[in-house]
C-alpha cells in the first residue's frame, strides 16, 4: 500500500504562541513531530545513497541495522522513537548527509559514520529487550551506543569494528580479543515520580564501560527527563565539543543544580517548564571557560539539546535552559517555514554579542532574548533582596537590548512574510514589558551597560573612511574647522580582537550582588588588568558602576592615553558622557565613537596626546562637522 504523503499544516496560532512564550505544551509536540519527520527522511536518504558507495570498509551494509530496527519496532516502538528523537541523532544524520553530499569532509572514515546507524539500532534493541548481534564502529578505541553508554577497548586501531551482543539480560561488547560484559540496561524512563538522583548506576562500575547519565528532576506532571551526555561523538562535529568527562562530584553538582533549577521553573515559569518537559532531551556539558558568564550554545541540527558549561547557580541554569531551548524552538519553526533570507550575510549589531551577526543570527538572538527577558520579568516579580536587584538589572538590560533589535528588524526587507509576522508578534509582546518599573540603580546600570557595549562595538567594527580620518586629524592639528562627519551608513567589518565588550554588565552584576574587590576572571584569565591601560580601564569601570562618572571619565581618558586601541575603554568613556555638560562631545562620543577613534588614532600616531584630548576632539568633530 503506497504511503499517503501529506504536508505539515502550520497554524498561525503556533507563531503567536511562540512569540508570547505560551501554549508550549501544545506547540512543542508539534515541533517534535516535524523533527521526527525530518530525521526519518534524512535517514531514508542515507539508506538510499549508501547502497551506491562502494568499498566502505568493515561495516559495508546497513541492512543488518534495518532488520534490527524492524525487530525493535515490533517489540517496543517507543524504544525506536526514543533513539530517533534523541538530538544527537539529528547531529549524526545531518553530518552524514553533508558528508555523503560532499559539502563537508572530516578525517573519520565514511564507514564509521555509516556504521553509527548500527549503533543506533543496537541502542533501540537494548531498550526494546530484543536479542541481537551487530557490529558497531569504534573511534580511538571507544564504541558508543547512543543514549546508552560507551565501551573503551585498548590495543585497537584508531577506527575498528566492535561486536555488540544483547542476549537476555546480558549486554556484551567485544573487540580486539577484549570483551566487556554488563547487565542489559533497561528502559531509561523510570516512573516520573522518581527523584533526580543520577540514574546511570549500576552499570557505571563495569570496567571499561561508561553509562550515559540520566537526570530526572521533578514530580509527576512537572517532570523533566534529560541526559547529561558527554559521550556521544556527534556534538563535537557541530562545534559543541563536550567536556572530556564528568567526575562523580561533577555529576552530583549538575544534579543538584538541576533539581533546584527545575523547582524554580516548575513553580514560577510554568509555560517554559511545560515546553522544556516536552522537548528538552539532552544537556551537553561544555568545559568551563575562563570568563565569568559561562558558555552555552545550540545547533539547528539538534532539536532538544542544550550545550552549556556548569552555571554558577540554579537561577543561571534555569535561565540558560530557557535561553537555549528558545533557540531549539526557533530552529523547529525554521525547519517548517523560512523566516528570512538566510543568504543575507550582511553583518549587523547584536547587543548581546561582541561579533556582528547576519540577519538569521539576529533573529535567533531576538527570539531567544525575548524569552530571557520574560524570564527575568518573572524573577523581578518573585525574588527579594539581592536576587531581586539582580533580576531588575537583567530584566532592564535584556528588555532594552531585545526592544532595540526588534524595533530595527520590523522594517527589514530580509524577512519573509511569516518572518515578518513573527517579528511583529515579538515586538507587540515586548510592549508589555514597559508595564514593569525598574528601580533607579539597576535601571541606570542596565542603561550604561547597553550603551557602553554599543559604543565599544561601533568603535571597533564600524568602518570609517581612512582618508576622511587623515584629513580630519590634519585639520584638527592645524586648528581648522572639521569636515562633516561621514554619513552613517554603517559599513561593518568584524574585528576578532573586539572581545569582552560587555564587561560593564559583568561589573554591574558583581556590584549588585554585593561583592567587592576584583571580578573573578577579570584580573588574570581574560587579559584584563594585565597592562597599564587595561588596569586603568578596569578601575574606570568600577568607578562607573559605583556612580562616580567624573572619576570614571578621568580614568578612561588615562586608559586611552596609555592604550588608544582599547575598545572597551572607548565604550566606557562614551557612557561617562551621558550626563556631561558638553552635549556636543557627549553626542559625538555616544553616537559616533568610531569617528572619534579613527581621527584620534591618526592625530595621536607616534605621540601621546593629553588626557582630555579625546573629549576636545569629539566636541570639535560634533560642533563643526
Amino acid at each position: 500500500v503506497p504511503l499517503q504523503i501529506t504536508r505539515v499544516n502550520l497554524p498561525l496560532s503556533v507563531i503567536e504562541g511562540l512569540s508570547a512564550g505560551r501554549d508550549l505544551a501544545d506547540i512543542v509536540p508539534r515541533l517534535n513531530g516535524t523533527e521526527r519527520s525530518r530525521r526519518l527522511q534524512l535517514i531514508n536518504h542515507v539508506l538510499r545513497v549508501s547502497d551506491r558507495v562502494p568499498g566502505l570498509g568493515p561495516i559495508d551494509s546497513l541492512a543488518p541495522a534495518q532488520e534490527l530496527f524492524a525487530r525493535a519496532q515490533r517489540a517496543d516502538p517507543a524504544a525506536v522513537e526514543d533513539v530517533l528523537a534523541y538530538p544527537q541523532t539529528g547531529l549524526w544524520v545531518t553530518h552524514l548527509v553533508r558528508r555523503l553530499s560532499g559539502v563537508l569532509d572530516d578525517e573519520i572514515p565514511l564507514w564509521v559514520h555509516l556504521g553509527h546507524y548500527n549503533a543506533l539500532a543496537a541502542a533501540a534493541a537494548i531498550t526494546a529487550g530484543v536479542d541481537f548481534d551487530i557490529e558497531v564502529p569504534t573511534r580511538d578505541g571507544v564504541a558508543h551506543l547512543p543514549t546508552v553508554g560507551s565501551a573503551r577497548f585498548t590495543g585497537i586501531a584508531q577506527w575498528a569494528p566492535a561486536r555488540v551482543t544483547g542476549a537476555g539480560e546480558v549486554l556484551s561488547l567485544a573487540a580486539a580479543g577484549e570483551q566487556i560484559r554488563l547487565p542489559r540496561p533497561h528502559r531509561s524512563t523510570p516512573p516520573r515520580t522518581s527523584t533526580s538522583a543520577p540514574t546511570s548506576a549500576p552499570t557505571q562500575e563495569v570496567p571499561g564501560w561508561r553509562s550515559v547519565t540520566y537526570l530526572r528532576p521533578g514530580r509527576e506532571g512537572r517532570a523533566l527527563s534529560v541526559t547529561l551526555d558527554v559521550l556521544d561523538p556527534y556534538p563535537a562535529c557541530a562545534g559543541l565539543e563536550p567536556a572530556p568527562g564528568l567526575s562523580e562530584a561533577e555529576v552530583r553538582a549538575w544534579s543538584k543544580l538541576l533539581i533546584d533549577a527545575w523547582q524554580l521553573l516548575a513553580r514560577d515559569h510554568v509555560e517554559e517548564a511545560a515546553g522544556l518537559a516536552a522537548g528538552l532531551r539532552s544537556i551537553i556539558p561544555l568545559p568551563s571557560g575562563p570568563g565569568v558568564n559561562g558558555r552555552s550554545g545550540s545547533s539547528s541540527d539538534a532539536f532538544g539539546a542544550a550545550a552549556l558549561s556548569l552555571p554558577t547557580d540554579a537561577t543561571a541554569l534555569a535561565m540558560t535552559l530557557v535561553h537555549e531551548f528558545r533557540h531549539s524552538l526557533l530552529n523547529g519553526l525554521l525547519h517548517l517555514v523560512p523566516l528570512c533570507d538566510q543568504s543575507d550575510a550582511r553583518p549587523l549589531y547584536a547587543p548581546w554579542r561582541d561579533d556582528p551577526r547576519p540577519i538569521i543570527g539576529l533573529l535567533h538572538g531576538a527570539f531567544a532574548f525575548t524569552g530571557v527577558t520574560d524570564f527575568w520579568r518573572t524573577r523581578l516579580r518573585k525574588d527579594t533582596g539581592t536576587d531581586w536587584e539582580l533580576a531588575c538589572f537583567e530584566f532592564a538590560l535584556r528588555r532594552q537590548q531585545a526592544t532595540e533589535v526588534l524595533d530595527g528588524m520590523r522594517s527589514s526587507a530580509s524577512l519573509t512574510e511569516v518572518g515578518g509576522i513573527l517579528v511583529h508578534n515579538l515586538w507587540q509582546h515586548s510592549k508589555g514589558w514597559n508595564d514593569d518599573p525598574v528601580p533607579a540603580r539597576p535601571a541606570r546600570l542596565a542603561e550604561l551597560s547597553a550603551a557602553s557595549h554599543r559604543a565599544a562595538w561601533r568603535a571597533a567594527q564600524v568602518e570609517v573612511d581612512p582618508q576622511w580620518a587623515r584629513r580630519s586629524a590634519d585639520r584638527w592639528t592645524h586648528g581648522l574647522p572639521a569636515e562633516p562627519l561621514p554619513r552613517r551608513d554603517d559599513v561593518v567589518r568584524a574585528d576578532p580582537a573586539a572581545r569582552h565588550l560587555d564587561r560593564l554588565s559583568t561589573l554591574s552584576r558583581h556590584r549588585l550582588a554585593g561583592r567587592s574587590g576584583p571580578v573573578p576572571g577579570f584580573a588574570a584569565g581574560q587579559a584584563l588588568g594585565s597592562t597599564a591601560g587595561q588596569a586603568l580601564g578596569s578601575a574606570a569601570g568600577q568607578a562607573l558602576v559605583d556612580g562616580d562618572q567624573d572619576r570614571a571619565r578621568r580614568l578612561y581618558l588615562r586608559a586611552l592615553a596609555a592604550e588608544p586601541e582599547s575598545v572597551p575603554s572607548w565604550g566606557g568613556l562614551a557612557v561617562t558622557m551621558i550626563d556631561h555638560s558638553d552635549r556636543i562631545a557627549a553626542r559625538t562620543l555616544i553616537e559616533r565613537p568610531e569617528c572619534v577613534r579613527a581621527v584620534y588614532r591618526e592625530a595621536a600616531a607616534g605621540t601621546i596626546l593629553a588626557e582630555g584630548a579625546v573629549v576636545d576632539l569629539a566636541h570639535w568633530l560634533g560642533a563643526n562637522g
Binding site: 504511503l3 504523503i5 504536508r7 505539515v8 499544516n9 502550520l10 497554524p11 498561525l12 496560532s13 503556533v14 513531530g33 521526527r36 519527520s37 526519518l40 527522511q41 534524512l42 535517514i43 531514508n44 536518504h45 538510499r48 534495518q66 530496527f69 524492524a70 519496532q73 516502538p77 525506536v80 530517533l84 548527509v97 553533508r98 553530499s101 563537508l104 557541530a238 562545534g239 571557560g289 558568564n293 559561562g294 558558555r295 552555552s296 550554545g297 545547533s299 539547528s300 541540527d301 540558560t320 535561553h323 533557540h327 530552529n331 517548517l336 517555514v337 538566510q342 548581546w352 554579542r353 561582541d354 561579533d355 538569521i360 543570527g361 535567533h364 538572538g365 531567544a368 565588550l501 560587555d502
Partner: protein, 56 residues
C-alpha cells in the same frame, strides 16, 4: 506555500504515524524522493548553525 483556514500549508512532509521500517519499505517512492531531495538541499545549504548563547 499555500494558505489553510488557520495558517500555512508548509512544504514539509508529515510522517507522523509512519515507522522507520515502514518508511524504508517505501524508500524509493517518487514523491518521497522528491521531498527528500529538497530537504537534503536545505540541509546542505546550512553547513553548521551553532548559535552562541550567553558567552558574550
Amino acid at each position: 506555500m499555500d494558505s489553510t483556514p488557520d495558517g500555512i500549508l508548509t512544504d514539509v512532509v508529515d510522517l507522523s504515524g509512519v515507522s522507520l521500517p515502514e518508511l524504508a519499505a517505501h524508500a524509493a517512492a517518487a514523491d518521497l524522493v522528491a521531498a527528500e531531495d529538497s530537504l537534503v538541499r536545505e540541509v546542505n545549504s546550512v553547513l553548521i548553525v551553532s548559535v552562541g548563547g550567553s558567552e558574550s
